[in-house]
């Protein structure tokens, strides 16, 4: 690995100061599962590395304002997978954590890393989109909140300025009559990258869908919501026919490319199948 200066802040404030002194030449290090391989093969050559592992706030999962939850950006995939509160109310997010890498990688890889790397296939993005999460970002000018749907600006690009830090994700509680599910397709069961990922979240009242969210990964430069499909479900009783109709509409929202992992047509097919399956599971969980 190319030599670099290592900064070890112990608070968010210290980290922001370190970023202010040359954020453009610095890289933030959380789990290292994406950053270190890119530094080892010479793709990235930061002059400074700022390690986030000493900042306790970033590793916390805590009750948020109202009934929601705040999940620190350095919370690991494994923590998401196992955390009781996350499993109880935000199961699709726990499911996305469980799908990343091997257990050795999941104990390192972080939520913030998955989002800030901004790969179109990031597994944790669709559940957060479907849960209406907000990114809490801190920088020299103070704190700002960005809906996760507006966080991604392109392949490997986000709204984060070089001197800014993703602190946590604020996720509202979807309520007791709500259910979610995340599924992805990979050729191998383990240690693979999503060809397509879909998260769905359904909230019910008196047998009618009050809120539907469907979010897609790896079918566009950024993770996106299938809003027409959502609208087709809201205000309706969710039946197999309406789920099939929503799955068709979700395909229209996808703008996939063909690459070594799958052709554009195959990806559209996967959107239809995974949307149908996640909506069906979300409905069952919301009704349970």
């Amino acid at each position: 690995m190319r030599r670099f200066e290592l900064v070890l802040p112990e608070s968010v404030e210290d980290c922001v100061k370190a970023l202010a002194q040359g954020g453009a030449e610095a890289k933030l290090l959380a789990g290292g599962t994406d950053l270190l391989p890119q530094m080892k093969n010479g793709l990235l050559k930061p002059a400074r590395v700022i390690d986030l592992s000493g900042i306790a706030r970033l590793r916390a999962i805590e009750p948020g304002n109202g009934a929601g939850i705040r999940i620190g950006s350095a919370v690991t995939a494994r923590m998401l997978e196992l955390d009781r509160a996350v499993r109880a109310h935000y199961l699709s997010l726990a499911e996305s954590g469980a799908l990343v890498g091997s257990v050795q990688v999941r104990n390192l890889a972080t939520l913030g890393g998955n989002l800030c790397n901004a790969a179109p296939s990031a597994d944790m993005a669709p559940p957060l989109l479907a849960l209406d999460a907000e990114a809490v970002i801190t920088g020299p000018k103070g704190e700002r909140r960005v809906p996760i749907a507006a966080f991604f600006t392109g392949v490997r690009r986000t709204v984060l300025a070089p001197e800014e830090l993703l602190v946590e994700l604020a996720v509202p509680n979807p309520g007791p009559r709500s259910g979610g599910n995340y599924l992805r397709h990979t050729p191998r069961r383990e240690l693979d990258i999503a060809v397509v990922g879909v998260a769905s979240q359904l909230s019910l009242a008196n047998g009618v869908c009050t809120k539907a969210r469907i979010a897609l990964a790896a079918v566009a430069p950024v993770p996106l919501r299938a809003t027409a499909a959502e609208q087709a479900l809201e205000g309706q009783a969710v039946t197999p026919d309406r789920i099939a109709r929503a799955a068709d509409l979700a395909v229209d929202a996808a703008r996939p490319i063909g690459d070594q992992r799958g052709s554009a047509d195959f990806r559209r097919h996967l959107v239809r199948v995974l949307t149908r399956r996640t909506l069906t599971t979300a409905l069952a969980r919301a009704s349970a």
């Binding site: 030599r3 290292g32 590395v49 990688v105 104990n107 390192l108 383990e190 240690l191």
Partner: protein
């Protein structure tokens, strides 16, 4: 660029050692602390040969900077069992003749040990999932499964 002082616990012993900022935990364990059980296979977190326990959890030590271990507990294969007092997994691996070339074995044992701590009676499926992050290029997985299954019975029995 100055070296950093790394203070952590390795195999239950306090350790203080000077490391370079760009040194990985795996490098520090092997080159500075003399623990060559963890191996570098791929260096990118795909093969699992460098698996150690970090505060009890299995991690790829090739993906952690040494200084990220400051204040933490690290356990390597050298701290899993001793000659004459092998961990039940090590004992089962010996009796089943699991190691072929042996390169992956320390990592597999650490992954399996972490699995059994968390889940003392795993199913075959759970064992496969638990060692999914460990590649054996001799492809000796069948005996691994048999040995881990047997050791799981032994460790679960020991607990109760």
């Amino acid at each position: 660029m100055a070296k950093h002082l790394l203070s952590c616990t390795v195999n239950d012993e306090p350790v203080e050692v000077l490391v370079q900022p760009w040194e990985t935990l795996l490098d520090a364990l092997r080159e500075r602390i003399g623990l060559t059980g963890p191996k570098e296979g791929c260096g990118t977190g795909d093969c699992g040969a460098c698996t150690v326990h970090f505060d009890g959890k299995p991690i790829a030590s090739c993906l952690l900077l040494a200084m990220q271990a400051r204040g933490h507990n690290v356990r390597t294969i050298e701290g899993l069992g001793r000659p004459g007092a092998l961990h039940p997994l090590q004992d089962a691996f010996v009796r089943h003749g699991v190691p072929q070339c042996g390169f992956c074995i320390p990592g597999v044992l650490m992954a399996a040990a972490a699995l059994l701590t968390e889940n003392p009676r795993p199913t075959q499926e759970e064992i496969r999932y638990g060692i999914a992050g460990n590649l054996c290029r001799c492809t000796g997985y069948t005996k691994m499964l048999a040995a881990i299954t047997e050791a799981a019975g032994a460790t679960a029995g020991r607990r109760s």
